[in-house]
Amino acid sequence: MSVARTLRALPTLLRIGVAETVAYRGEFLVWILTTTLPLVMLGLWTSVAKEAPFQGYASQDFVAYYLAALIVRNLTGSWVAWQISEEIRLGSMSMRLLRPVHPMIAFAAGHVAAIPFRSLVVLPIAVVLLVSSGASALTTEPLQLALIVPSLALAWLITFSVLFAIGTLAFFVTKAMALLNLYFGLFSLLSGYLLPLPLLPAAIARIAEYSPFRFMLSVPIELMTRPMATRELAELLALQTGWAVATLALALWLWRLGVRRFEAVGG
């Protein structure tokens, strides 16, 4: 399908995505409830750091960190792996393959359409964050502030691509979703979802630094909460872009292999 044609279809795909988000109210609520882990961690760590800072993190640093984590997770979360595996399992993937639009575009449109609704949840948290933490635990540098949005977009793309790739595994194995538990375990540890990466044991922190997980969550949080030199900013954004391109390429490649297998064995 040509680019011009995809662009013409996009507004309708986004509109339908919004309609779907609104229709799945229950699911939406459940999703929000399942992303409250940062709040639990926030409670835990602020009480630890109540008397004295813990490894350089004061109580208000933890508040800023976990509220920022909640924002990033809400804006970048993806459920595409479940969608793909369900469609393969139920056979509706066949119908999708007969439409002249790349399924990745169609799934992505549905995800992007949900972002405004997720923002409704995120905005009040952002306000609480600003009021409670103040400038001391947050970034004030204009360039760094400006880069938060592209960094969030890249984090979204990496998360979407990784979960898209996991979803395509359902083309090859029947219970691909078992892999999601493994993914979520690694993600929680290496992305900074459970605790800030500097608090991890040195060896694990090193792995985290070179893994794509950091760029799915920790990097935008770092941009919001930790002052950085321009050089470090540039490096992080360049690395994040690299991961976005790599994971997107991986997802598309696995998709092609998966569809070829689907054509060979049926679904």
Partner: protein, 333 residues
């Protein structure tokens, strides 16, 4: 136009005997077996034809439709639909065809069908004016007006099927692959769908390839039938011709209004069924006039009907013969 030449599709399926030990063993070593879903099928279908595709369960009907629609890559052989190689799934090809599977849905489950239609319009890049015109036509033909704005999940099976058909036809495809489009529907709904398919075929000169478990669908819609069994083609041709060739005798059913002896009935034809006063006889075609004259004149009968033998019966005989022939061929080897 649809053309399949020496089409073959083999699958590899994982097999294991029942039981815990076998389950554990299959973790380490898997035993695969080749299944010949389609085994060298050739046919040609011209633009505008309505063709019934028949065969017992597992004969390879759905696999063939999926190959023709581009969802499956054939193992070997050639296939061409409207000048395209289906499995490449080029946009120009996808715009010309549609596949309706009675057991699978393309409607968005929690939204009304009108939303799926809007999405298909955008994806297939149908101009707004043309879309409105087609949707109006489909709404009228399928009586969709009360259904368009109800969430799909609240529709009955029959209502959903009508909406599925409309979703599949909004881009005005000229080749329709219909796999069990009337499955699970009541008789009235079956008739409505059947009428609709015929009228779409006539209005748009569309090619229709239909599979159905309901022989009435096939008899009513398809002048030509292709029969496959175990992946091979066992008949391709005119439906009436097939019936005549397989069983030229007619079925004469009537209700007796007074007593009749078996000998009296045997003089008219072979008794196939006798349920109370309702009797069905098998009568050679050339003796029909005499038989009917006798039944109406000498014996006291009402509700007399003359029909072709049911297609189910013909197919049962055909599949039996095809299996015997295969078994013989195997023995001979």
């Amino acid at each position: 136009m649809i053309r399949a030449r020496e089409l073959v599709k083999h699958f590899r399926v994982h097999k294991r005997p029942p039981g815990f030990a076998a389950a554990m063993k299959s973790l380490v070593r898997r035993h695969y077996e080749g299944v010949k879903a389609i085994d060298g099928v050739s046919f040609e279908i011209q633009r505008g034809e309505r063709v019934g595709f028949l065969g017992p369960n597992g004969a390879g009907k759905t696999t063939t439709l999926k190959v023709l629609a581009g969802l499956l890559h054939p193992t070997s052989g050639e296939v061409e639909v409207e000048g395209h190689t289906p499995y490449k799934r080029q946009t120009a090809f996808l715009e010309k065809i549609t596949l309706v599977m009675g057991q699978k849905s393309q409607l968005i489950w929690d939204l009304p069908p009108s939303e799926t239609y809007a999405m298909n319009r955008a994806i297939f890049d149908v101009p707004h004016a043309e879309f409105t015109k087609t949707l109006d036509e489909l709404t009228q033909l399928l009586d969709l007006a009360p259904l368009l704005d109800k969430p799909t999940r609240q529709l009955s099976l029959g209502e959903r099927m009508k909406c599925e058909l409309a979703a599949a036809l909004l881009h005005r495809p000229t080749t329709l692959f219909l796999d069990e489009p009337t499955i699970g529907l009541d008789v009235a709904m079956q008739l409505a769908i059947r009428d609709f398919i015929r009228s779409y075929n006539q209005r748009h000169d569309a090619t229709v390839l239909l599979t159905s478990h309901y022989m009435d669908d096939v008899v009513a819609l398809c002048p030509r039938i292709i029969v496959i069994d175990s992946g091979t083609l066992i008949h391709d041709g005119d439906l009436r011709g097939l019936i005549k060739a397989m069983d030229p005798d007619k079925r004469v059913s009537f209700t007796l209004t007074s007593g009749v002896t078996d000998a009296q009935l045997a003089a008219v034809g072979t008794v196939l069924a006798r349920e109370g006063q309702r009797i069905t006889l098998k009568v050679p075609e050339r003796e029909i006039a005499t038989a009917v004259g006798h039944l109406l004149g000498t014996l006291e009968t009402t509700d007399l009907a003359i029909e072709d033998p049911p297609l189910e019966e013909i197919l049962r005989v055909m599949f039996g013969r095809s299996r015997e022939a295969k078994a013989e061929a195997k023995d001979a080897r």
